[in-house]
Symmetry: none
Subunit: 202 residues, 4 copies
C-alpha cells in the first residue's frame, strides 16, 4: 500500500457533519406529535420548535411532511420481549399483556387512529404501520400458535390467522367500546380462543 498516505475516504465525509442527535430528536418529536395530534394537526413549525432546529433542517432530511411522518413511523419498533412461560396458554397471555401495555400508553390508540383516518390522504402511513408495527406484533402470536401446532396441540382445522386477529382485535374493540381494558382481559380472551382451537382432550 505504498507510503500509507492513501487513507480510505469513507471515514471522514467532507463538509460539516450532521449532529447525529438532531435526526433522532426530530423523529422523536415528530412521532410524539403524530401520536398526540394526528397527522394533519402535526405542524412542522411545532416539530422544529420542539426539536430545537429550524424548518430547513428538517427539509434537508425529509422532503415533505408526509416523508417526515413516515420516517418517524419507521423508527417505531415493536420491542416485545420474547415470552416463554412453558405453556402455550401462558405464552399467549404474556404476549397479549405486553401488547396491551403498549396500547394503553398515552396516545397508543391515537396513532392507530391517525393512520386509519389518513388512509385516504396519506396511505403510506397505514402501509408503514402495517409493516413495522402490526406485522411484527402479529408474528409473535402467530409464532406461538404455530409452535403449538407443531407440537400437535391444535386441531387440524384451526384457523391460526383468525385466532390471532381476534386476540389482538379484542383489545381494539374493547378500547373503542369503553377506553378501558379490565384486568384479566387477556386471560379471558385466551381462554375462549384456546377452547376453540385446541385439540379436544379425550
Amino acid at each position: 500500500m505504498g507510503y500509507g498516505m492513501q487513507k480510505k475516504e469513507e471515514e471522514r465525509a467532507p463538509g460539516r457533519p450532521r449532529d447525529p442527535e438532531t435526526e433522532e430528536r426530530i423523529l422523536e418529536v415528530a412521532l410524539r406529535l403524530l401520536s398526540a395530534d394526528g397527522y394533519s394537526r402535526m405542524s412542522l413549525d411545532t416539530v422544529a420548535a420542539e426539536a430545537g432546529v429550524s424548518k430547513p433542517t428538517i427539509y434537508r432530511r425529509w422532503s415533505s411532511k408526509a416523508d417526515l411522518a413516515t420516517a418517524a413511523l419507521r423508527t417505531m419498533q415493536v420491542a416485545e420481549p420474547k415470552v416463554d412461560t412453558g405453556s402455550t396458554v401462558g405464552d399467549l397471555v404474556a404476549a397479549l399483556e405486553n401488547f396491551s401495555r403498549s396500547l394503553l400508553r398515552p396516545n397508543g390508540m391515537s396513532l392507530i387512529g391517525t393512520v386509519l383516518a389518513e388512509e385516504g390522504h396519506t396511505p403510506e402511513l397505514l402501509r408503514l404501520f402495517r409493516e413495522r408495527i402490526v406485522g411484527p406484533r402479529r408474528a409473535i402470536l402467530r409464532g406461538i400458535l404455530h409452535r403449538a401446532a407443531a407440537r400437535g396441540e391444535l386441531r387440524e382445522d384451526a384457523d391460526v390467522d383468525a385466532a390471532v386477529q381476534m386476540l389482538v382485535g379484542g383489545f381494539y374493540a374493547r378500547y373503542l367500546a369503553s377506553g378501558r381494558i379490565p384486568a384479566g382481559f387477556a386471560r379471558e380472551m385466551v381462554g375462549i380462543v384456546w377452547g376453540g382451537v385446541a385439540q379436544r382432550r379425550r
Copy 2:
C-alpha cells in the same frame, strides 16, 4: 310577496322559520366529509359550499366545528337488521357479516380512525361514537349470546363481553393488518369463539 321568499303561513313562529331540510343537509355533508377527510381536514368552508349554505348559517345552529362534527355523528344510527336464522351460530355469523359490510364501505374505517385520532383534542367525538355506533352494534351480538345463555347453550363461566369484543375486534385487527377481509372470515371467527364458549357436547 315582499322581500325574500314567502313560506307557508301555517307556522306561526316569529321571524323567518328555519328550513329543517337545511339542517339535515348540513349534517349529512358534515358526516360525509368527517368520514372521508377526518376531523381536522374537514373544513367548514367545504361543508358550507357542499350544503349550499353560508358559514354563518352553520354557526347559527352549532357553536363550533367540534359541535357540528358531534352533531353529525349523533345522527348516525346503526341500522343493522335483526337476524334470526334459528341457530346461535347462524345468528352470530349473520350479524357479523352485516357488520363487516358496513366496515368495508368506503371510509368505513376512516371514521373510526378519526374519532380515535381526535381523542386528545375532541374527546366528545369518541364518546358519541361509542354511544351511537359502538354500543348498539355490540348490543346485537351481546343479545344473541345472552339468549343463547338463557337457553343453556353457553358454559357457565363464559365471558360474553370478551367474546363480543373478539368477534368485532377480529375485523378491526384484520383490516388494520391487511385491509382485506377474506370471505368466510366471520364464520371462522364464530367457529373459534363458539368452541370456546359453548357448552361441551357430551
Copy 3:
C-alpha cells in the same frame, strides 16, 4: 303589476356589501408594487398591508397572485389624449411626446421589464400588457399614419407597421441605451421616418 310589492331583487344584494374602494385600493397598490418591484418580488403581504386589508380579503377577489397581478394590469388604460395639430408630422410628434412622458414616469420601464421577464413563468402578464397597453398605443400612431395615407401623403409602398414600431421602439432603445430621452428626440425620429414614408415632393 298587481300590488306593486314585488320589487326586483337586483337592487340590493344579500349579505354584507363590499366596500367598493377596497377593490380599487388593492389593485392600485398591486399595480404600483408590480411596477416597482416586479412580479416575483411583489408580495401579497405587502399588498395587503399597504391596502389596509387582510390577505383573505385579497384572495376572496382574486384566486392567486398571478390573478391579482393580471387584474391590476387590466386596470391600466392608456389615456392618451387625442392629438390634432393640423399636420401629420405635428400629430406624430405630439403623440410620441405623450408616450414618452408615460415611459419616463417612475417605473414606466420597469413594468415593461417585468412582463417581458415573466414571459416564461406568467405569460398572461405579457398577453394582457399587449392587449391593454401596447395595442392601444400603437393604434393611435397607426391611426395618424392611416389618415395620412388616405390623404395621399404617404408613398404607396410605405410600411405603416414598421414605421409605427420604429417610432415607439426608438424610445425603448434609447432608454435601454442610456436611461435618458433627449429633448427633441420625438421630433428627430419623426423627421427621419417621415422622410422615409412620405410622398416625395416634386
Copy 4:
C-alpha cells in the same frame, strides 16, 4: 492516484488552487438561469446544483447574489460578426438580421426584461447590460452610418443616434407588440430610415 484528484503541479500558489473551470461553469449556469427565470427567481441553490458545486463555493467568489448576477452579465459579449456587403443599406440589413437572431433566441428578450425590471433593486444589472451588450451593438450600426456619412451618403443634418435607436428599437417594439418578427422586417425598417437620412438623389 492519491487523494481526490491530482492536478497539474506547475502552479505554485499556496493552498489548493481554484479550478478556473469551476468559475466559468458557475457563471454560465447563472447567466442561463438569469435569462430564463429572471433575477429574483434565479436561486443560488439551483445555480449551485446545476454547476455541481456547493453554495459557499459561490460565495467565496462573489459576495452576493447580485454580485454573481452582474458577474454573469459581464461575461456576455456581443459576438456580432463584422458585416461588409459593399453597400450601406446592405450592411445595415445584415447587421440588423444578426441582431434579430440574437433577440429571438430562447429568452432573448427575457434578459432585457429582467435588467429593466430590476432597475429599482439591482441597478448594476442595467448598467452592465448597457455597457456590455447594448453599447457594442449600437456601435456596429453607428459605425456603418458614420462610414456612410464620411462618404457623403447622409444628409448633413441626419441624426445618426436617433436612426440607430429606431432601427434597434423597432425590434423591441415589434416583439413587445406581437412576439413575432416578420421576415423582411429589417429591410423594411432600413428602407424607411434610409429614406429619412440619405442624401436626396438628384
